[in-house]
């Protein structure tokens, strides 16, 4: 009897081959993703991608340029020389982590064997990454000056370019709230998108299509509903973060509202995109779990972007999570004006629009098909 039930269940479970494939694909993709993240791919330990270190050379001397060249020659660093203003702006906008400023009198200090005028300007939200870069620079300094006391000669002052103020939240809190909120939103809209499959099973989709409604109306109607739910869910999460953890959500209300709307648009279009690519619930479950976990891992919902390997940082932009989380950092941490956050909002809207355009033919092919 048990065998008969087992045999029947295997037959039923394996009937949806695409669904089964997706179920197996999920762990394979996750293993691959984390293997890359932790540098475990290949027999030899892979060389880390160099971190970008901005350099401001105010001394412009032979000594400072020689030392910068030595830093650049290190495999772990990629030196980018900039003016101080530009470097600070890049850090302030979250494009780079830290800049090393070689103060005037660097060469003289080297000659006199006195304290070196070095300053590190960094983003305190990426303190761990900044400290790691600094450790590399310190190593180079010790090597260059030949003795362990060299460090005592370095006046390596660390200054955060983003000033912590009383109304500014801890970057960890911003990461936790933004990362989790966007990831959970993706799961919610995937479930709402699944409502289209329910309509197909119950026959209401058939009735909808016999009325003067076009398939695209159904798709956009579902997306609209998912967007409203997304806006409510995101708002509720931020209100909770405000009440429970004091996240200052009224710091820049206009930017916050516009960002919530942009994220909700992108995420809800993702929901209808997902459901348009599948034919069954099993396929939807497999596909949504794979894509959501992938986007969340790559986009910084699980681990902050700055702590990810270089290649993953490069592909982070494909994820809705990335643009959403960075947008929230722009508002709460970097406190950028609305105009500087708008490009991220436009990217989110662009992602959403792209997904809708792809979804329409897929929806007609996979969902609006009756026998």
């Amino acid at each position: 009897m048990i065998l008969k039930i087992l045999k029947k269940d295997m037959k039923v479970d394996f009937a949806d081959k695409r669904g089964i494939l997706l179920t197996f694909l999920l762990p394979i993709i996750l293993i691959t993703l984390f293997a890359f993240s932790f540098g475990g791919v290949g027999r030899k330990k892979s060389a880390p991608r160099p971190s970008s270190l901005l350099v401001v050379d105010k001394d412009s001397s032979k000594a400072s340029q020689d030392f910068i060249a030595k830093l650049d020659a290190m495999p772990t660093l990629k030196v980018i020389s900039l003016d101080e203003e530009v470097a600070i702006e890049r850090i302030r906008k979250g494009k780079n982590t830290a800049a090393m400023v070689f103060g005037k009198g660097f060469e003289k200090a080297v000659e006199n064997d006195s304290r070196l005028p070095l300053e590190v300007k960094y983003d305190a939200a990426r303190e761990i990454q900044a400290q790691m870069m600094l450790a590399v620079v310190r190593g180079r300094l010790m090597h260059n000056f030949g003795d362990l006391n060299a460090l005592n000669k370095v006046n390596m002052r660390m200054t955060s370019v983003i000033k912590e103020t009383s109304n500014k939240p801890n970057p960890g809190l911003v990461q936790a709230v933004a990362g989790t909120a966007v990831m959970m939103l993706l799961f919610s809209v995937a479930a709402i998108g699944g409502g289209i499959l329910d309509e197909k099973e119950s026959g209401t989709l058939k009735r909808l299509l016999t009325s003067p409604v076009k398939p695209v109306h159904i798709l956009l109607g579902k997306m609209g509903a998912a967007m409203i739910v997304s806006v409510i869910q995101l708002t509720a999460m931020f209100v909770f973060a405000w009440l429970a953890f004091g996240l200052p959500i009224f710091m820049d209300t206009v930017s916050l509202i516009l960002l919530i709307l942009s994220i909700s648009f992108a995420v809800s279009s993702f929901g209808v995109f997902l459901v348009s690519t599948v034919k069954t619930r099993q396929q939807l479950n497999g596909m949504s779990t794979i894509i959501i976990i992938l986007m969340s891992a790559v986009g910084g919902s699980m681990i902050p972007i700055s702590m990810m390997p270089g290649f993953m940082q490069d592909i982070a932009g494909i994820s809705v999570n990335y643009w959403g989380i960075q947008g929230f950092f722009d508002i709460f941490w970097r406190q950028l004006p609305l105009l500087e956050i708008v490009p991220k909002m436009l990217i989110l809207l662009g992602i959403g629009l792209g997904m809708i355009l792809i979804s329409i033919p897929l929806f007609k092919r996979n969902i609006v098909k009756f026998e």
Binding site: G203, K206, L208, P212, F370, E371
Partner: protein, 306 residues
């Protein structure tokens, strides 16, 4: 009013509709009778613009219908086989939603909802959630949702599946009332008693093909008999049936130990004599008046519920 011409539709290697032709006059109730999988729903799906045919065409009032044609959708009401309603909404909310899709002005729609609910006998339950309704009541609301835009043609795909006789009767009354009001109705079913009661003309469909069509009288004439005699034997082999058919000049259909002979009561004695001659022990004899069930059996050699 409706002309279905050379209609064909295949799904992979299965020919679901195979060169189907029929014509429906204005104000007629036209029955499409056939077993499950005969091609009734596919024909109806093409008529309701949900499906595109591989070949052939459908004309309504001389105009060829195109897939997703809005003008055509406004002309037609579709009662799907499934109960296509939202369980979490009340009957009124469901009807309001479905009616709104046709752009009916609010006041007109509300009047139409009340009229329709009265017609189906559920006006007093309009505020109740669909999930609290019985199967028969849901079926009635399922019909109501197709009537709000006052279509000229109503396509009903097995509208009485899985309901009690009382609810079924109520639906028959609704169909008859709508027809009296001038609505043309296409009614698919595999229950012959439904088409016998409701339909002016009938097309019998099997394996995607129309095997006969006409009024009930015309179909009866087609099988050229008024009665069938059903005999049940202890044992009946195909050899014995072959031998019996040499003795009796009637069409015979064997169903295991049963034999249906297209004949009349006057010939019963000769049938019994022939059976005795072959040593066949008769257990039971039944006289069947010719109905659509027996016509279907006669034409296809199988029963409607097969």
């Amino acid at each position: 009013m409706i002309q279905v011409q050379n209609l064909s539709k295949s799904f992979q290697s299965i020919k679901a509709v195979d060169n189907v032709n029929f014509t429906i006059s204005k104000g007629e109730i036209f029955g499409l009778l056939g077993p499950n999988g005969a091609g009734k729903s596919t024909t109806l799906n093409i008529m309701s613009t949900l499906l595109k045919s591989d070949a052939g065409r459908i004309l309504i009032e001389g105009e060829e219908i195109k897939p997703n044609s809005e003008a055509c959708k406004r002309l037609i009401g579709v009662v799907p086989q499934e109960i296509s309603l939202y369980d979490e909404l009340s009957a009124y909310e469901n009807l309001l939603f479905w009616g709104n899709l046709y752009g009916i002005p609010s006041k007109e729609l509300k009047e139409s909802i009340d009229e329709t609910l009265e017609l189906i006998g559920l006006l007093d339950r309009k505020k109740d959630l669909i999930k609290t309704y019985s199967g028969g009541m849901k079926r009635r609301i399922n019909i109501a949702a197709s009537l709000l835009h006052k279509p000229k043609i109503l396509l009903m795909d097995e509208p009485t599946v899985g309901i009690d006789p009382q609810s079924r009767n109520r639906i028959f009354e609704v169909v008859e009332t709508l027809n009296k009001q001038g609505m043309t109705i296409v009614y698919t079913t595999h229950y012959m008693e439904e088409v016998e009661r409701l339909c002016n003309r009938i097309a019998i469909i099997d394996s995607g093909k129309i095997i006969a069509q006409g009024t009930q009288r015309e179909l009866q004439e087609l099988v050229q008999t008024k009665e069938n005699i059903q005999l049940e034997f202890d044992f009946l082999s195909t050899d014995q049936v072959a031998k019996l058919s040499q003795l009796l000049p009637y069409k015979m259909i064997q169903k295991e130990n049963q034999l249906i002979i297209e004949s009349s009561i006057k010939e019963l004695s000769s049938i019994i004599t022939a059976s005795n001659q072959l040593g066949l022990a008769i257990n039971d004899i039944q006289l069947q008046k010719v109905n659509l069930e027996t016509i279907f059996l006669s034409l296809t050699g199988k029963q409607l519920r097969d």
